[in-house]
Structures are given as C-alpha cells and as structure tokens.
Symmetry: C2
Amino acid sequence: MISLTPDLDRQSDVPLYQQLFSYLKGQMEAGILKENERLPSIRQLSVYLSVSKNTVETAYQQLLAEGYIQSKLRSGLYIMALEKLELEGSGAKTGTTLGSEKTQQIPKSSLPAINFEYGDVELAHFPVRQWKKCMVEALEECTVEVYGYGDRQGQAGLRTEIARYLYQARGVVCSPDQIFLSAGTQTMISMLCQLLPLPKKIAMEEPGYNGVRTVFRNHGREIIPVPLDSDGLSVELLKQGGANTVYVTPSHQFPVGIIMPVQNRVRLLQWAYEHNGYIIEDDFDSELRYQGQPIPALKAMDTGDKVIYLGTFSKSFLPGVRLSYMVLPELLAKDYRSKLQTYSQSVSPLIQAAMYRFMKEGYFESHIRKMRKLYQARHKTLLRVIQELFGSRVGVIGQKSGMHLLLDVYNRSSDELIEQAYQQGVIVYTPRLNWLNPEECPPSYIMLGFGGLSEEKIRDGIIRLSKAWFSEM
Amino acid sequence: MISLTPDLDRQSDVPLYQQLFSYLKGQMEAGILKENERLPSIRQLSVYLSVSKNTVETAYQQLLAEGYIQSKLRSGLYIMALEKLELEGSGAKTGTTLGSEKTQQIPKSSLPAINFEYGDVELAHFPVRQWKKCMVEALEECTVEVYGYGDRQGQAGLRTEIARYLYQARGVVCSPDQIFLSAGTQTMISMLCQLLPLPKKIAMEEPGYNGVRTVFRNHGREIIPVPLDSDGLSVELLKQGGANTVYVTPSHQFPVGIIMPVQNRVRLLQWAYEHNGYIIEDDFDSELRYQGQPIPALKAMDTGDKVIYLGTFSKSFLPGVRLSYMVLPELLAKDYRSKLQTYSQSVSPLIQAAMYRFMKEGYFESHIRKMRKLYQARHKTLLRVIQELFGSRVGVIGQKSGMHLLLDVYNRSSDELIEQAYQQGVIVYTPRLNWLNPEECPPSYIMLGFGGLSEEKIRDGIIRLSKAWFSEM
Ligand SMILES: Cc1ncc(COP(=O)(O)O)c(C=O)c1O
Ligand SMILES: Cc1ncc(COP(=O)(O)O)c(C=O)c1O
C-alpha cells in the first residue's frame, strides 16, 4: 500500500473527511502520490487511520467528483494524471487547465489561485450575523452622533470599551480621554506627524514596517534605521542613532517576528526616560500569539508615560472597518486634543457606533478567542506542511505569532521564486520594501501571509510551492 | 385684535397648524406677543388667515399643552408670561427654567438649545430605510472586497458611479481611474501633500476654509493669502502672490458665499495654463444652489487638465459616511497611483459598498433632489425671518446657496453676540478661524449653519436671537 500519513486534527472545526480529502489532493498535486497508483480500499484506510469508513468514503467521493481519481471497475480507485492548473482570482493573469485528457468526462475542478497575501483575514468564520445586528442598530439610531461628523476624538462609548479592553487584554491602564481613533494606522501616524511636535529624526527597526515608514518620510521625517539583534531592536544602536523618538513593534516585530523579551523592554523604556524621548509602540497583532505566555504591551510597563500606544482592529477584527486607535501619554493628550479642534474624525461614526455595540455585547472578545484558535490551527498547519515538504531547504523566520511568517529559501532568489510559484497558481511576496534600502533584504526571503487561507488552502498552497520550487530535486 | 402676520407656506411639507404654532410661539418668545394679551378666537383667526378652523384649533391646543397660553373660562385664550428658558443639548452648560409661576400646573416644555452649527445636516428626512438596505446588502456580500482593506484607490464600482454623477451633475468628464477616495476632505488634502509634489507655497482665498488651510500648514506648506473681490478670488492678486498652486471654492466661496462668475473662472484657468500651475477646486456643497442657474464645476471648463477636483458626500449626503473624493488630472493620476501602492484606503470598504449600491439604485440622486428642496425652504425661511426681525440692523452675506450664511450684526462684537445668544439657548459661531489672521475677521460677523435645523427651529432660533440681541431697542 502507498504510504499515507495525514496528520488529522480531531479537535479542528474542519471535518475529518475534509482534512483527508485535502491531504490526498495535496499529495497528488505535489506529485507524491503518482498517476495510476492505486488507492487503498475504504476499509483498509479507515482501519489504518482509525477513522470511520464514512469519512474515507466521503473523501474519496469528493476526489472522484473533482476528477483527482477514477474508479476502475472491480479493481479500485486510481489516481489521475495532473498536469495543468487553472488560475482564478485577483492576482492571476494567465490561466492553464487542471486535469489531464483522461479527466475530461469527469466534472473538472478549476483550482483558484492561492494568495499568501499578508493582510487578508478569515471571513468564512466571521460573525456576520452579530456584526450586521450591531450595524443595523447603529443605523436605526439615526442621531447626529451616528450620522453627523461625530466626536473629533472618536465616540466616547467606543473609547471606553477600548480602554477596558486594553486593560484586560494588554495590561494598559488609560482613560478614554487619552484614546484617539483614526481610519487605520497610516492615518494615525499622519495625524501624529501633523499635530504633535514629533522631531525631525525618527528611529525605526531595520527592517521595519514600510507602511509606517513611508508615512513618516512623506511628512518630511528622516528615518534613523536601528538594526535588530535576537532581542529585537538594539537599544545600544538606538542610542548611537541620536534620535529621541522611536517607532517599534515589540509584541511581534514586523516583518521578522521577534517578540521582544522583557529585559530589552526595560532597556528601551530606560532609554526613553533618560533621553526624554518617546516610544511609539505599534501593537498591531498582539492578540495572535500561539506559543508561550502572552506578554503585556510595552505601554503596560511604562511608568514614565513615554509610550504612545497604537492599536488596530485590522488584525483582531476586520481591515474593512478601517478603525485604529492610539493611547497618548497624558501630557501629550491635552495638547493633541486642542489641536484636533480643527480636524474632523476620519472613522465613520456609523462604524464606530456598530463597533461600540459589538464590543459592549461581548462579541468582540469571543470573536478574538475564536480567531486565535483558528489562526493558531492555520499557523500550525503551515509550519507542519512546510516542515514536511520543504524540510531543511528553507528556514522559517518568526514563528510564534501573527498572521505571517518569512521563509528563507536557501540560495534562491525571490524574483524567481515568485515567478515559479505563480506558474503553479500560488501568489507569494517579497518583504523587501520593509528594508529602508530594499537591496539589503536577503533575496532568498519570501513572505507568507496566512490569515485569509483555510488549512486546506494552506496545505494546497505549500504543496504547490513544493512542486514549483523543488520538483526538479 | 393683536397683529398676526404669519407667512404660511401652503406648498411646504410642514403642516399649516405646525407653521402657525411655530409662528405664534416665536412671536411670544420674542416678546412681540405679550403676556396677558388675548388671542383671537379660532373662528376669527381662521377667517383672517384663510385657513380651516381645524388648523387654528390644533395650533392653539399645542400652545396650550406646552404652556404658552392659558384658557380663561368664558373669556378666551391668553398668553402666559415667558421669563426663562431651559437649555438642553450639546453646547449648553447652564440651564434655567421656562415658564412663569403661573404655568406650573400646565405641562411645561423644556426648550432644547438651538444650535446653528455649520456641518449639521437634516436627519429627519434621511432615507434610513434605503441606506439600511444598501448597508445590509453590502454586509451580506461578505467578500474580501468589502471586509478586507479594499482597493487602495477606492472600490471600482463606486468610482464609476461617482464619475457618472460628476458628469451629469457637474459637467466633469473623467474616468473612474482618475478618481481617488478618502475619509473626508482633510484626509484627502493630507494625501495630496504626502504623495504629490505640491510646492511649498499654496495660495488660498482669504478668508478661506480653515479646515483645509490647517492641513496644508501642518504639512509644512506656506499659505499665500489671496484677497477676494466681488468675483471671488482675485486672479490679479493671485499672480502677485507668486504661488503656482491655489486652493479655491468657486461654486460657493467658503465662508463668504460668493459664486465665482464665469469670466473670473476663465481668468483663473488661464492663470494656471500660463504659469503651469494647478488649481485645487473644492466643490464641497455645489449640490445646494437656490438661486439662478447651476454653474458647472470649474473642472468642467478645464481643457488644459490643470484642475484637481475635490468633492465630498458630507453635504449632499451624510458627514457620517466620511467619504470624499478627488479627480486628478491624468498626468498626476498615474504618478499618484503608483505612490499609493504603499498606502491603504482610509474609507471603510463597507461604507463604499453601501454607497455604491445607494448611487446605483438611484437613491442618491433622488435624495439630493429632495434635500435641495428642503434646504432651500430652510434657507428661504432663514432669510425671511432675519429680514422680518433684524431688518436693517444686520447685513446678510452669501445668500444664494449652501447650508450656512454670515450675518454682519452692525457695530456689535461676536463675543458679546455669542454670549447673549447663549443666554437665550441659541448657539451661534464666529467664522474668524477662516481668516489666516483671525484678528482680521470683522468682529461683527456671525456664522449661521442651518442644515440641521427645521424651519420651525430656524424661526425659533432667530426669534430668540432677536430677543437676545435687540430686545433693548
Ligand atoms: C506593523 C503593522 N502595523 C499596523 C498594521 C495595520 O495597519 P491598519 O490599521 O492600517 O490596518 C499592519 C498591517 O499590515 C502592520 O503590519
Ligand atoms: C470648504 C469646505 N470643504 C469641504 C468640506 C467638507 O469636508 P469633509 O469632506 O471632511 O466633510 C467643508 C465642510 O465643512 C467645507 O466647508
């Protein structure tokens, strides 16, 4: 019998037959299960995997229906030849066809492109019903608070909910008065540049989040790159850089994924206190931590009120709400609020009112709990399949949290890797823009976002990548 | 019989009894109808005004119920003493009580504050049902387009609808490719400063919209103030200022309300063509024009593609959607789009998807038509009541369109006027921040926004203002 070692997860929300189906499909697409090989019988496989016959049968039926296998009378199920792939969806420009000549009588599946784009989130499990309820309630309120410009700082009720959440989830103690909303992190950074006396020089992790770096630069700020060591931003090198304001991602360094250990956090805070500097902490995906104890935000340790804390609902909830927030030190909050008097709020008060309800009803916290489990399962699958199929040919960078990781595909170059992946209908990215000088990004780095992909898709995608990158070996 | 001259509008959506009620209430509050005067009988007044007895009776009943008049047995209806006013609502800090001792047995009304805040829009007539339908449909779509970050430039369907609308309503010919969305005009201006090579010097009308001026300044731009003449921005003085980029509001100069005549538009465009300059046209409330023919946008005449056109849904629809847009000249659009690759869109894709539906279904155009009539009626009422009660003691500035106007309360000062108004529960504003140097704003100017006030409230408000400002005369 051919060797089958699916790693079935009996706790998962994904039914076993579906897991088995994806596994088999993946093995075929990766060329591990080869054309014309005979599959074990339903009874054999169910005994072997300790699953019900029903599970195996359903998985086989789906493979049959999708043209991966064919039934030869009285002889069993055989694997079909897979030659071409049909692309569908956003990034795909050219399409080829899945399935060999032989499959033409059988209903064909057209495999959609698999997009490892960072920033996508899971939608299939999104609590549409609750969110819709909250939106409709907000719409029906029909008051100036909801339909007009709204509070410049953000709806007071929502800010109260955020303050409560930050205390419970991140250990951050602040009053709703210190909280300011904006339509995404970039808009927030722009507002900071416009309204605070941020200095000319801003230090940033190198590599660091390009989305924010660009905004700083477009506001005339000079970026002082501070190299990372294994503890994240090097406070030693920060000192040498001569800036007194730094933007950091301590909970999950973007893009390399380091979680800053507490000793380095203490050093960083001390630097701020000694240099009368400010730390802009971007806590963008702290909700998604899969290994070890959750570490509170840097802000939670900030006894000297020198941390400007940034959060967003883009990872923990939905990018589509375009809702992010900031906690300002008390000293700055007053000044900022008075300058804000000539600015209107950028987040739709309709969205704010709905989000307020969503948090107040407890939907947000249960959503986060659910999503953390879901993303954790995806993360686990991704790591496992990478390990299984790529083995020692790649290094995995940043593997404890978040919705992305970096691959170091040894001795290869991202241009070629991206193109090869594309030929297999898989879209992957280079993280190079996150280096101040993109040339300095190791060419073998590939960035994989997995937030928007089911475990099945992840498996599929890695299988295809294995074929794309390593099939000649 | 006491003299009653209500100007009843038989075309209005507001029922006649309601108009009569407001008129009488207003006359009492303004002290024109005095305490203990006897009202005409129902029959008398109905004959005198050519309205049904029912109309008069209903109006009287409402006045009775609210404690404005009292019924003396067999003798008729008499006006009660009104001494104090109860404040309610946002701006109000201190409250006093409406009604004299005598009214205490009769149910008292607490008069809410009347806020002439610019920026408020009518909500009572807002098509909640249709908008809700569009939002719910958008929510139910549950796709990455709607729940994810969305297109950086803005949803393509919505941009197509905007392009169509701009052509039909404003004569602007552009492709959806040239349209960019953002979360309000200020965010748009900020994006322009960040992504276009806008020069250091920006010319602006003086006075001009402070909301935009502040953003330019906070992006390090130097404002070159260009005085207005009766045709709006003086192109002669613009030339002398030496800037090659100018921000203007030709359809309805903010704040003084001049509609730039076509000759001056031609001069302005010629200036741009000769100096290779750019004109940023803010067409913020062009939908609301009440006298004369609508003039197409400046952009509609721009054969040399030198006008950057800005529009917003804040006046024509709702501030609460936080949705504005820009049409870039083709030359700039390409460059801008490529720089936009590192920016995410600031408008919630949920809102965009709903707005797309709202426009596509034709709801938007019929809403505008309805609102134009409604605001026109308010505008007319405001002008008429001002004329009636203030007469030659004030000058009215900017009276053909929009949702605000300026009052010149001759020989008075805004600080005092605002305070006196406040004592009567009316909140009015100074437009001074719209002068580059606020000291140069004539102190006698008061700004009245009327978008969010019913005709009744407007009448009430002006009556109270008359009492506040001129009662000693
Ligand atoms: C470091 C970092 N900060 C913030 C964000 C989120 O930005 P926003 O709030 O605009 O969605 C991201 C997402 O890409 C990120 O990687
Ligand atoms: C001149 C001018 N432009 C634009 C706006 C609208 O700005 P937004 O799109 O941010 O609501 C206003 C409203 O106050 C305005 O007066």
